[in-house]
C-alpha cells in the first residue's frame, strides 16, 4: 500500500503479508473474504489478531499457509516468510514450510487430532517426516514434547486417543504437535476458546512460556480482547476482510484510533470492579459478496463524515507502529 513505512521498521520481518486478497467464487456471487490484508510480524514477536466472527481471521491464517479451502482462492497479494515468497513456492517446498517454519493450532483441537490414531503416533509422524528422526528418537522426543506442555504422565498420553483426553489436555497435545518441529512462527487460532477460565489461563501461560523459551513468533487469533491484552505486545484489528487498525496493544486499547476498535472495546464487559452497560455495535458487518467501495464500517459508525461515503480510507500513521484506516481523529485518540 502507499502508506509510508515506519522509520524504525525492521529490515526484514519474519512474516509480512501485503495486500492479501482471497475470494470465494460461489453461485451466489464472489465473496471477498480477505479484501487486502497487511500484516508484519517480527521474530519472537506476539501479534494479536482480533475481530468479530466472519471478519476473516481464520481465512488470513489459511491464506498464509496456502490452505484456502475450495472454492476459495488467493486473488492477489504477497506473503513473505523468512525471506521466501510463499505464494511462489512449489507444493513440496510449501509443505516443508508448513510444520517446520509455520505451525498452526486450530480452533477445535479435539477435531484437529485424528480420532483413530494415538496422540504419540501423530506427533511421532511429524518428527519422522520433517526431521527424519528414527523410531526410537522420535519416541523419546514425543515424550519430551508432551512433557514440555506439562501433560501429566506423558507415556500414558502418548498411548491415548484424542477422545480419551479432556479439552484442555487436547489443546496441550495440539500445542505439542504444532511445536514438534521447532517452527519459527506459531499461528494460534482461538487457542483458548471453549475452555473454562482456569484452563484458558493455563494454556495462555503455557503459550507464553514456550514463546519465550523458543523465541517463537506467535500470531494469536482470537475474538477475546482480554486474551490479546494479556498475551500480545501488538494487536491488529480486523473488519470485513482487512486490518482496520494495528499498533502496540497498550496504545490501541488505551486510545483506539478506529471507531470499530473503539466499539469492540466498549462491547465487552469491563473490569470486575467497574460494572457498566455493554454497548453492542449497531447494525451488521457488510456482506462480503458486496463490499462497498467506501469505508465498510461507515454504516455502523457514529463518527461518520461525508468523506466516508465517497472514499475508502487508506492506512493513516498515528505513531511509529500505529496506523488506522479512518479519516477521522477520534476524540481521545493520540495523534
Amino acid at each position: 500500500m502507499s502508506a509510508a513505512r515506519p522509520l524504525r521498521a525492521e529490515p526484514e520481518p519474519l512474516l509480512s503479508v501485503e495486500d492479501l486478497r482471497t475470494c470465494f467464487e460461489t453461485d451466489a456471487g464472489t465473496s471477498q473474504v480477505l479484501a487486502g490484508v497487511n500484516l508484519r510480524l517480527g521474530r519472537g514477536e506476539v501479534l494479536g489478531l482480533v475481530g468479530e466472527s466472519g471478519s476473516g481471521k481464520t481465512m488470513t491464517a489459511l491464506s498464509i499457509l496456502g490452505l484456502v479451502p475450495e472454492p476459495g482462492r488467493i486473488v492477489s497479494g504477497e506473503v513473505r516468510f523468512d525471506g521466501q515468497d510463499l505464494r511462489r513456492l512449489d507444493r513440496e517446498a510449501l509443505r516443508q514450510v508448513r510444520g517446520r517454519g509455520i505451525a498452526m493450532v486450530f480452533q477445535e483441537p479435539q477435531s484437529t487430532l485424528n480420532p483413530v490414531r494415538t496422540c504419540g503416533d501423530q506427533i511421532g509422524e511429524l518428527l519422522r517426516e520433517h526431521l527424519r528422526m528414527g523410531r526410537a528418537a522420535s519416541r523419546a522426543q514425543t515424550l519430551e514434547l508432551l512433557r514440555s506442555v506439562h501433560l501429566p504422565d506423558p507415556e500414558r498420553v502418548a498411548r491415548q486417543y484424542p477422545h480419551e483426553l479432556s479439552g484442555g489436555m487436547c489443546r496441550r497435545v495440539a500445542v505439542a504437535l504444532a511445536l514438534s518441529c521447532q517452527p519459527q512462527l506459531l499461528i494460534a487460532d482461538e487457542a483458548t476458546s471453549g475452555l473454562d477460565r482456569t484452563i484458558q489461563a493455563q494454556i495462555l501461560a503455557l503459550l507464553a512460556e514456550l514463546q519465550a523459551a523458543h523465541d517463537l513468533a506467535v500470531l494469536h487469533i482470537t475474538h477475546d480482547l482480554a486474551v490479546v491484552a494479556e498475551t500480545a505486545a501488538r494487536v491488529a484489528v480486523m473488519y470485513a476482510g482487512r486490518i482496520v487498525e494495528t499498533g502496540p496493544t497498550s496504545k490501541v486499547f488505551a486510545a483506539p484510533a478506529h471507531p470499530y476498535t473503539r466499539a469492540l472495546l466498549r462491547a465487552r464487559p469491563g473490569l470486575l470492579l467497574v460494572p457498566r452497560r455493554l454497548e453492542p455495535i449497531p447494525g451488521v458487518a457488510p456482506d462480503p459478496r458486496n463490499l462497498p467501495s467506501h469505508c465498510p464500517f461507515q454504516a455502523r459508525c457514529p463518527f461518520r463524515v461525508e468523506r466516508c461515503l465517497q472514499q475508502d480510507p487508506e492506512p493513516r500513521w498515528l505513531g511509529p507502529e500505529h496506523w488506522s484506516r479512518c479519516f477521522v481523529d477520534l476524540p481521545g485518540a493520540v495523534g
Binding site: 479451502p69 498452526m104 504444532a178
Partner: protein, 281 residues
C-alpha cells in the same frame, strides 16, 4: 458393548456361525472328507445313505467330499477376488475423492462406464479370450467388482477431506500420500469391512454362475457351481446332485449377507439394532 450390539442382531449371529463353520469345513476338507473327491468309489448314482451321506454322482464320486473341497474353491476364489476388488476400489476411491476436480470426474466416469457392462459379460469375454482357469476367474471377478468400492470410498473421502484433522495435517506439512493412507483411510475401514463381507456373497454367486456355465472351475475341480453344471443331466433321476450344492450356495450367500448387514448395524450406531430393521441382502 459393541459386541453386544452385534449379538443383539440374531440373524447376524446365525450368519456368522454359518460363515465360520463353512470356512472351518473348507480349511479342514482334506481331513473331514470321507472319500477322495475325485476318486471313483463304486457304481454311480447312489442316493444319500449311511455309506455316502449325500450320495454319489454319475461316475461314483462322493458328493459330500466334493462339496467340502468345493467350499475351498468357492470361498477361496471369492475371498481373493474380493481382496483384488477392494484394493483397486479403495485406491481409485481415495485418489478420486481427495484429488477432486478433473481427476475425480475422469475416474468416476470410468467407473460409470465399467458399470454399464454386465459383469458376467465382461467375465465371459475374458474367458473366451484366454480360456477358463481358476486364476483368470478370480482375476476377472476382482477386476469387475471394484467399482462399487471405489464409489463408497470416494464418498467417504469427500466428507473426510473437509474434516479439521485433514486440514490440520496439511497445515503441519504431512505429505499427501501419507495423509491419505494414515489419516483418511483408517476412517474408511468400517464401511469397507461391511462392503467386503457383502461382496463375498455376491462373488460366490458370480463364481457359481460362471462355473455353472462351464467357464469357471474346470474338471476335475469341484466348485459348487461346477457341480450344479454336472448335475444338469441327472437332476430328475438323482435329486441330491443339484440340491446340496444349490442349498450350500444359497446358505453361504445368505450367511455372508446377514453378517454384512449385522456389521453395518454394529458400525453405524445411528441405525436401530436388531430385528426391527430389515435384513434383506
Amino acid at each position: 458393548m459393541s459386541f453386544r450390539r452385534f449379538t443383539a442382531h440374531r440373524a447376524a449371529v446365525a450368519g456368522a456361525v454359518v460363515v465360520g463353520l463353512l470356512w472351518l469345513l473348507a480349511l479342514l476338507a482334506p481331513w473331514l472328507a470321507p472319500y477322495d473327491p475325485a476318486g471313483f468309489t463304486r457304481m454311480g448314482l447312489v442316493p444319500p445313505g449311511s455309506e455316502h451321506w449325500l450320495g454319489t454322482d454319475a461316475i461314483g464320486r462322493d458328493v459330500f467330499s466334493r462339496l467340502l473341497f468345493g467350499a475351498r474353491l468357492s470361498l477361496g476364489v471369492a475371498m481373493l477376488a474380493v481382496l483384488v476388488a477392494v484394493s483397486i476400489g479403495t485406491a481409485v476411491g481415495l485418489v478420486a475423492g481427495f484429488a477432486g476436480g478433473v481427476v475425480d470426474t475422469a475416474l468416476m466416469r470410468g467407473v460409470d462406464l465399467l458399470l454399464a457392462f454386465p459383469r458376467l459379460f465382461l467375465a465371459l469375454l475374458a474367458i473366451a479370450l484366454w480360456g477358463p482357469s481358476i486364476w483368470l476367474l478370480t482375476l476377472v471377478l476382482g477386476l469387475t467388482g471394484w467399482m462399487s468400492t471405489a464409489r463408497l470410498v470416494r464418498t467417504q473421502v469427500l466428507s473426510l477431506r473437509e474434516q479439521d484433522f485433514v486440514t490440520a495435517g496439511r497445515a503441519l506439512g504431512v505429505p499427501t500420500p501419507r495423509l491419505l493412507l494414515r489419516h483418511v483411510l483408517p476412517h474408511c475401514t468400517a464401511p469397507l469391512l461391511v462392503a467386503a463381507t457383502l461382496m463375498v456373497g455376491n462373488t460366490i454367486l458370480a463364481e457359481s454362475a460362471l462355473s455353472f456355465l462351464g467357464l469357471g472351475v474346470q474338471v476335475p475341480g469341484a466348485s459348487w457351481g461346477a457341480m450344479l453344471n454336472e448335475a444338469r443331466g441327472e437332476w430328475r433321476s438323482a435329486w441330491w446332485l443339484a440340491t446340496f450344492p444349490g442349498l450350500l450356495i444359497t446358505l453361504t450367500v445368505l450367511a455372508h449377507n446377514l453378517v454384512g448387514d449385522g456389521l453395518r448395524d454394529l458400525l453405524d450406531p445411528r441405525l436401530p439394532v436388531g430385528p426391527e430393521r430389515s435384513t434383506s441382502p
